[in-house]
Amino acid sequence: MLETRGLCKNFGALEVAREVNFRLELGARHALIGPNGAGKTTFVNLLTGVLAPSRGSILLEGEDVTALAQAKRVKRGIARTFQINQLFRGLTVQENVCIAVSERLGVGGAMLRSAGQRADVLAEAARLIEMLKLGNDTGRRIIELPYGRQRLVEIAIALGLSPRVLLLDEPAAGIPSAETHILLDAIATLPKDIAVLIIAHDMDRVFRFAERITVLVSGAVFAEGTPQEIAANREVRAVYLGSALDA
Amino acid sequence: MRISRILKLGVVAASFAAVAATAQAQTVKIGVVLPYSGVGAEFAQQVDRGMQVFMKLNPGAFGPYKVELIKRDSKNPSGAEAKTAVQELIAQDKVDMLTGFIYSPDAIASASLFTEAKKPAVIMNAGTAWITNLSPMIARVSFSMWHAGHAMGEASVKTLKAKTAVVGYSDFPPGRDSLDAFKRAFEANGGKVIDAIPMGGPGQVPDFTPFFQRAKDRKPDVFFVFVPSGDHAVAVMKTYNALGMRQGGIKLVGPGDLTPDYKLQGMGDEAVGLITAHHYNADLDNAHNKRFVETWKKDYGANATPDFMAVQGYDGMAAIAHAVVAMKGRMDPEGTMNALRGWKFDSPRGPLSIDPATRDIVMNEYLSEVVKQGGRLVQKNIGVITAVKDMCKELKEGKCK
């Protein structure tokens, strides 16, 4: 589905991605883990087109999208969330989701009809808001919400794009543990043919969710396999997992 | 909504009927439009004070008639503000006449109103030559850029014996008018203008060095400079001296805007030797001027000096007084204009009159040189050209046709 070949990125002498060969299969539930500074977010930025790779290529369903602009990749079905919330802070939850949905439905540039009268957009937004249990906050502005709830809006926006590939950059970070189930439920109800790549720190959850795990260290793929394989991999335990797993 | 009432800058009612016994209650309303705030405030002050000194020195000038001055701020030289002020003075305050107008755009924008409403206007400064052609209701007591420019062109050849000249001018209408006027007269008398250098817009005082460097390299006999009166002039003197142009044998000449009277002392010795042509300077030697300057210094401080704008305010009031008395306080527009046509007056600037044909001023142009006398800088009279008309209209140049 989504594939990288020999992906490299450096900032001057600093290499943040080295020869990354990576495959995300159709319907995959894939996790990307690695220590801080391993280049996980950089990798997402490369996939979505925020950054241009220094070398290598990115393929979506076998088609080279390396040179494609960010917006065009979104149109082809790559959506993401950010590690640090990137929301329209002065707008309401409803408006936040509507903006994403409007773009997906191709009416983001429509000038004549009031956004409040786009029944299709509003219905879709309402569905997503309900799904993420944000119904009570629909009309509230982002800055009025606690961080955890904002996190859910972040997910709602990504889902509003009806992605085929969904890249979740530490989606659970900042959500109180009592509410993480909302997030997990939402992910669980995603259509099966969506490929999901989740970057996470919470190993426990990763191992429950993921069917496949890639370990990134210093910008390079260190290991890849099923959760069992990764858990059993001594080297991985040595460089990274050790403490996290024991904890 | 009280916005509109707030608009009035201030209504200053002034009664100058010295003879308290007059029973005549005819009040003539005069709208005064000047830039009381903003960059032109200094000019407005000169004109305003000139008007006041006239009324103080000539308490009986209006005869038995009462005159009410309604002052309005024209702010920036956009024309639009002035036009709004004029429109409201006419529609609301029902003025009989209008006066003031420092900036040419203010007079130009308002001209159609004078015609439409049939309100005579006495222009106290605005110097673009063709302003008087815009409306039959306009009479001008100030000057046109052609008065001094043409006089200086003539005098440069005849008096200063110059053969070549370079002109430097601020690149806006008065500057271009000055260039045309000087060049026309200078070349008509056998001289040759070898370069004309636009020196930036009037809005800001530029660094004159590159322009003056260019002029210096051309080695002309005279360097004629027109810049807006005031701050530009100080910078001109500085640069002229700093580049050593005087030692290079290049005479700096220009209209009197180069030597604004109230800034003259501040220019220092660098101004000595500067030659200008103008219709007024505070050092003019006549009885009227002596009294004018004396009163000015008494009222506004020993360091205050009237300049050409001040005397224009003075003469403007004189013209209005003449019209009021001639019309016996009933300001029929045609009659008022007829009264102004051919009006003669002995002003601090010498004898002047209004040309009946063009309604523009006819006056003397004085050629003067800045000299040091008793520790002060003084403008020494070195020649007079009498009864100068606006040569732009006489010669039917450009827009003056």
Binding site: A79, F88, A115, Q117, R118 | -
Partner: protein, 322 residues
């Protein structure tokens, strides 16, 4: 209590108090027939500020050069009338809007690659360039002396421009402003307007939802420029005069200040700001004729420090606190 989910629909619906400005505008016409000249200038200023609101308030493009488009519109009408004798007012306004809109699209295409300080600078440079060009082309523009005696035919063939009493001019300007307002209101409440707000609020996210950000900005810039051009054309028509003073930093900064004072990105900020600014200016000019800038400056500093969102923002806050 959080607002109901249909808040968006309700907010975009026309509300009774939105008639107030127009009712006031009409009431002014009957109540102060002698002050219509000032009123007309006020209406033109509101339209100009409204056009700026679209880019500055909604799309978050911080520009200091918006006077350039006002100027293009003003000179389009002036030059058409003076050089070609084209003095039918309505088509003149259309021409002004078109000319300014085209200039807006082209300059937007070139300038909107930059942002922040650089954008501030390039817009400022563009405006200054235009100012210089207008002075150099004084054979066409009249430079500082401007174009005197411009006259226009009757509006719709029915109402003559009266240079002395601004009755037709006032109503004409009020109608044009109303029209312009409908355009802006429709735009900002549309999905397009929503996406502009998105760009202002979070550029990164806007890219990530797949919006063609630059294209949207250029279109918004072009529309806004066209409106500013209409305001400029209107200015020339009602004043019957135009000179170089339509340009320059003071005018550009002035309209920006008006908008921010009223509250940018708030649709009615332009109205409140223009009225407040002009009243303030006149009040202060009356009290301190030569230094009204002091009071104005202090007011601006106070607004920047304590009243983000301008006067309307302040009003919203007070209402919210109650």
């Amino acid at each position: 209590m959080s607002p109901a989910p249909d808040a968006l629909q309700r907010r975009h619906r026309f509300q009774w108090w939105e008639l107030l400005p127009w009712a006031t505008g009409l009431a002014m016409f009957f109540a102060f027939p002698n002050y219509l000249s000032f009123g007309t200038q006020l209406l033109v200023t509101i339209l100009f500020a409204l056009s700026l609101d679209l880019v500055l308030g909604y799309a978050g493009i911080v520009t200091l050069g918006h006077a350039a488009f006002f100027c293009v519109g003003a000179y389009t009408v002036g030059i058409l009338a003076q050089q070609l004798g084209w003095n039918e007012p309505l088509s003149g306004l259309v021409a002004a809007g078109l000319a300014a809109g085209i200039v807006g699209l082209i300059s937007g295409f070139v300038l909107l690659r930059t942002h922040g300080l650089t954008l501030l600078m390039v817009t400022l440079c563009t405006m200054t360039l235009l100012e210089q060009a207008a002075n150099m082309g004084h054979a066409w523009t009249g430079g500082f002396d401007g174009m005197p005696g411009l006259s226009f035919t009757m509006i719709l063939g029915l109402f003559p421009f009266d240079v002395l009493y601004f009755k037709s001019q006032y109503l004409y300007s009020l109608s044009v402003l109303a029209l312009g307002f409908v355009v802006v209101r429709t735009l900002v409440y549309s999905s397009f307007g929503q996406s502009l707000t998105g760009i202002r609020e979070n550029l990164l996210r806007m890219h990530a939802v797949g919006a063609p950000v630059r294209g949207r900005l250029i279109v918004a810039y072009g529309i806004s420029a066209a409106l500013a051009g209409v305001a400029g054309g209107l200015f020339t028509q009602v004043t019957g005069y135009v000179n170089l003073a339509v340009l320059g930093l003071e005018r550009a900064a002035g309209v920006m200040i008006i908008l921010i004072l009223g509250g940018h990105g708030r649709l009615y900020g332009a109205f409140v700001g223009a009225v407040a600014y002009l009243v303030l200016e006149h009040l202060l000019a009356k009290a301190y004729p030569t230094a009204w800038q002091l009071g104005l400056g202090l007011t601006l500093v106070a607004v920047a420090l304590f009243a983000r969102g301008g006067l309307i923002g302040l009003f919203e806050k007070l209402r919210g606190a109650r």
